[in-house]
Amino acid sequence: MSGVLEVRALEAGYGEVQVLWGVSMAVAERRMTTLVGANGAGKTTTMRAIMGVVKPWKGEVIFRGEDVTRLTPHEKAQMGLVLVPEGRQLFSDLTVEENLEMGAYSPRARKKLDENLNKVYELFPRLKERRRQRSGTLSGGEQQMLAVGRGLMADPVVLMIDELSLGLAPVLAQSLFGTLRQLKAQGLTILLVEQNVHLALALSDYAYVLAEGRVKIEGESRQVARNEEVRRAYLGI
């Protein structure tokens, strides 16, 4: 399978500790691809290594046919490879709107700042209501909206989201997932890391199940959802 984003035999880790042991995956255009797996499986490290926040030790990251493995995160963002990081990482002393503007920092995104700002406000009316408010004072759900909104301001070709529902009340998580489906329907390519496996498999088109830094299972999400091996990948037996 080829895709707008391809990862080939990626190895990465922290210090001496290797986390990824050769992860290969592809993200198809206009599809939602999900990466699931128990904690410690290497999901976040995969996302960070794709983005270049963590430098890959081995392997390749191919974005729109180009080898971007060694590019810096800001260079990748400029090309349209955008990460909504785990834990949101907002500028808590800046207002909602300032955070969104920061998302459009790259020259390419800056040109479309007004257009994208309107889109984000349409998608998240709550953010528009609170646009003069400091982001640190938002609720958890609103902060997650803002993190996604800031990602969209970068005018992504591929939007990577690391843990959308983590720490959110179910009703908020549900609403965010509704938004994600909307974005997908509009043609956005999404790579999603999500702790709720059922949810990730129900919403996505294609899934990779990671365990111990390797892809254990991959396939159409509908089929992966029926695969008993998924439980084994999480629980060992």
């Binding site: 529902s165 999480y234 629980l235 060992g236």
Partner: protein, 252 residues
């Protein structure tokens, strides 16, 4: 029935308003390998810290070989025969492998003088397969070797119960197998083992029983087969199946 070596009795640890460990009770039997699993933040390492005296429980008791060790400092706990390894290994980098293990022996169960401590250390270094590296500076070891050194330091304390905190993390498959071999050998010496591990296949195959923590509470306890088929455990790991249904319904 075999005798109880460790009893965790309604143990709670609060950090401010957060209950990191909440009313957890279980027993461990002599000679047993008990696996402690649970999602990130479940309270596993905090529980280790409570058992070996790094933290004092907010409430509850911990008994080891029939003695109440609640609130004893770690150096007292190790003298009673309970040693541990740490998730983040911190060997004394400027000392050799052997010297590191000598330190473990000197401050272990007995306050051993240097000479017998060296003897113990040599045996243990051999036991974990680090003999060829005995005179290497610990700082020069790779991750897998450092993890084995960590186990060696704990073993040099001559424990009856060994707590292992993620000794398999960051190891490649060959190194994992090797470490599993070391753990089996420790058990064959009659040492009981309580271990935290994220590599599920390994812990499920190694453990006699498993205790599952989630949000600081004991979620389940039983044989590996029992806990792996427990719907509550599956939900803790894979998420609430109902949420997917609700999201899809909302759309239609």
């Amino acid at each position: 029935m075999s005798s109880v070596i460790l009893e965790v009795d309604h143990v709670t640890k609060a950090f401010g308003g957060l209950l990191a460990v909440n009313d957890v009770s279980f027993q461990m039997y002599k000679g047993e390998i008990l696996g402690l699993i649970g999602p990130n933040g479940a309270g596993k390492t905090t529980l280790f810290n409570l058992i070996n005296g790094v933290y004092k429980p907010t409430s509850g008791r911990i008994r080891f070989q029939g003695q109440d060790i609640t609130g004893l400092p770690p150096y007292e706990v190790v003298r009673r025969g309970l040693a541990r390894t740490h998730q983040i290994v911190k060997p004394l980098n400027e000392m050799t492998v052997l010297e590191n293990v000598v330190v473990g022996a000197c401050f272990g169960r007995e306050n051993m003088p240097l000479e017998p401590a060296h003897e113990v250390a040599r045996e243990v270094v051999e036991f974990v397969g680090l003999a060829p590296l005995a005179d290497t500076l610990a700082g020069k070891l790779n991750v897998a070797q450092k993890k084995r050194l960590e186990v060696a330091r704990a073993l040099a304390a001559k424990p009856d119960l060994l707590l292992l905190d993620e000794v398999l993390a960051g190891l490649n498959p060959v190194e994992v197998e090797r470490m599993l071999g070391v753990i089996q050998k420790v058990r064959e010496q009659g040492i009981s083992i309580l271990m935290i591990e994220h590599i599920m296949q390994a812990i499920m195959s190694l453990s006699d029983r498993i205790v599952v923590l989630n949000f600081g509470e004991k979620l389940a306890e039983g044989t590996p087969e029992e806990v792996a088929s427990d719907p509550r455990v599956i939900e803790a790991y894979l998420g609430d199946p109902e949420m997917a249904k609700r999201v899809l319904e909302e759309e239609s």
